[in-house]
Symmetry: C2
Subunit: 306 residues, 2 copies
């Protein structure tokens, strides 16, 4: 029986590419593994898979009785719904330590770097397994995505060195141009329903027993939102009404200007204003220099809720 290698709900490129790369590595060291996913792939991820000749991993939502290797998180809210009936055999991640627990020993490869695929490269090095060129390509793209082409404050020297090594393996001469091409694909938001955009890269967090949903859209120019921002605001308000979240936040991130406008609906917006030291105007405010949900948005909010 193989283990399943799966990233978080509403998978990003790190979750999908990481699952493929890690499943390949595990198979090479005689631990049968199958990459799966918990949701639709984004246009960015589809671009990456297409570029390097991969199919998307199979959609699989139930894991009861199975062995699971978790990629890119350690949070119950981001894991399969029946994860407590599965055996978690490992976690590879680069986020804060979440509330997943196990009843048996496991392996955790967690590092404070910019991308899970940077950690997966360390695993390849540890096991001395050669990385095929096409897998190096998708790993490289995942790192460029998570680190916003090295601009994110989450980016470390390890991520940059890793991309350089992977570019060599994949035979990619100008990886920054590839990164920009990828972000241009990501910036094409016109014609997409508001709910699809809100949910494209959306994560729920448990903050002192309050459920907080935070979505993020990274684009090369914020003006793409001019005609649809009102729709996005209406949609996060609707999303909050539908569920039991304390707050829903949408980050509109301009990767060239290097900052984010946040759209907020909340039971108590003062917590959000306290977290970022800024007043909201009509439920919005520009946060200069903020590119990273993980490093710049979640921790201050978690502290404000504590």
């Amino acid at each position: 029986m193989p283990m399943y290698v799966v990233g978080h709900k509403i998978p990003d490129s790190d979750s999908i590419c990481g699952a493929i790369a890690l499943a390949y590595l595990k198979n090479q060291i005689d631990e049968p593994a199958v990459a799966t996913r918990l949701g639709d792939v984004s246009p960015e991820t589809a671009f990456i898979l297409d570029r390097f000749g991969f199919e998307a991993p199979a959609l699989k939502e139930s894991y009861a009785g199975e062995e699971v290797y978790i990629v890119d998180h350690s949070e119950l809210t981001q894991a399969p719904d029946d994860i407590s009936d599965a055996t978690i055999v490992g976690i590879v991640d680069h986020h804060k330590l979440g509330d997943l627990t196990t009843s048996t020993p496991l392996e955790c490869w967690i590092r404070p770097v910019g991308c899970s695929n940077t950690v997966i490269k360390m695993m390849y090095d540890f096991y001395q397994v050669e990385i095929p060129a096409n897998i190096a390509g998708i790993m490289l793209c995942a790192i460029l995505s998570d680190t916003v082409i090295f601009k994110s404050p989450t980016c470390t020297t390890a991520d940059i060195r890793c991309v350089e090594a992977l570019a060599e393996i994949a035979g990619i001469e100008d990886f920054k141009a590839l990164g920009m091409e990828m972000f241009k694909v990501k910036s094409a938001v016109d014609g997409t329903p508001a709910r699809d955009l809100v949910m494209r890269d959306f994560k729920d967090f448990n903050m002192n027993d309050n459920l907080v949903g935070i979505g993020q859209l990274e684009v090369t120019d914020l003006s793409v939102f001019d005609n649809i921002k009102a729709d996005l605001e209406a949609d996060i308000a609707k999303l909050k009404e539908e569920g039991n979240r304390h707050s829903v936040i949408l980050l509109l991130t301009d990767i060239m200007k290097e900052g984010s406008e946040i759209l907020v609906v909340s039971d108590d917006a003062s917590i959000i204003e306290k977290a970022y030291g800024k007043s909201l105007t009509d439920g919005k405010v520009w946060l200069d220099g903020v590119l990273s949900r993980k490093k710049q948005v979640v921790p201050p909010l978690q502290d404000a809720f504590a």
Copy 2:
């Protein structure tokens, strides 16, 4: 400001030797670190430190506002009381994933092997830092202790290879003889107050919101308990009365016969009987082949409580 490297409450040799070994490594890679401990060192650990010329790390129980690297567990019940006011920067461990969480990214070196010091050796290899002979000696002893000189079912090939490599570095020709010497020290229980014996290697676990305390005494011959078993039984009954534990279990482990007698006081002993498939007689039963609390005692009990 240095980070503090600290093992679990009621520290065992893995916690103490691991803290010393990891703090040394961190200092070598320019991350200032100080080893500390959360309680008294056991006679076994004192023997190891003395043999290789180390002082015990300083006792330090409060870590508010500090950076902490956790060794040998990931459980709130085993961590410093004010851990939620500290920043956990890393965890090195070989147990099930517990309920510690963080609000910032960290490093986790967790592997399903027999001892945290085996994982710390992997960290030395990763950073390409040379292990001094005396540090290799204490790491080796910690692994022999946790794996019961390779007899425990938790022992893996990685632990054995690691001990072999450390023995070479430390210049120890007969590491099994050293291990037996160490377990003889551990077996000297006569004249020690019952409470000290019960608490010598005692861990609390949260099992489906029930607090379960499990102590373990490993000896080379169970007959050392002949005169004091009644005292031990009376003491765990008293310990349960004093606290809010659902159950207190004491494992009397015979490392030569390779099994454990368990002494039990419980609000519902049928859960324990269910967990191990054995009936208790006068609150006691022999579990053949059971050497490992982590692998053979905790998981079935956790499942029985679930």
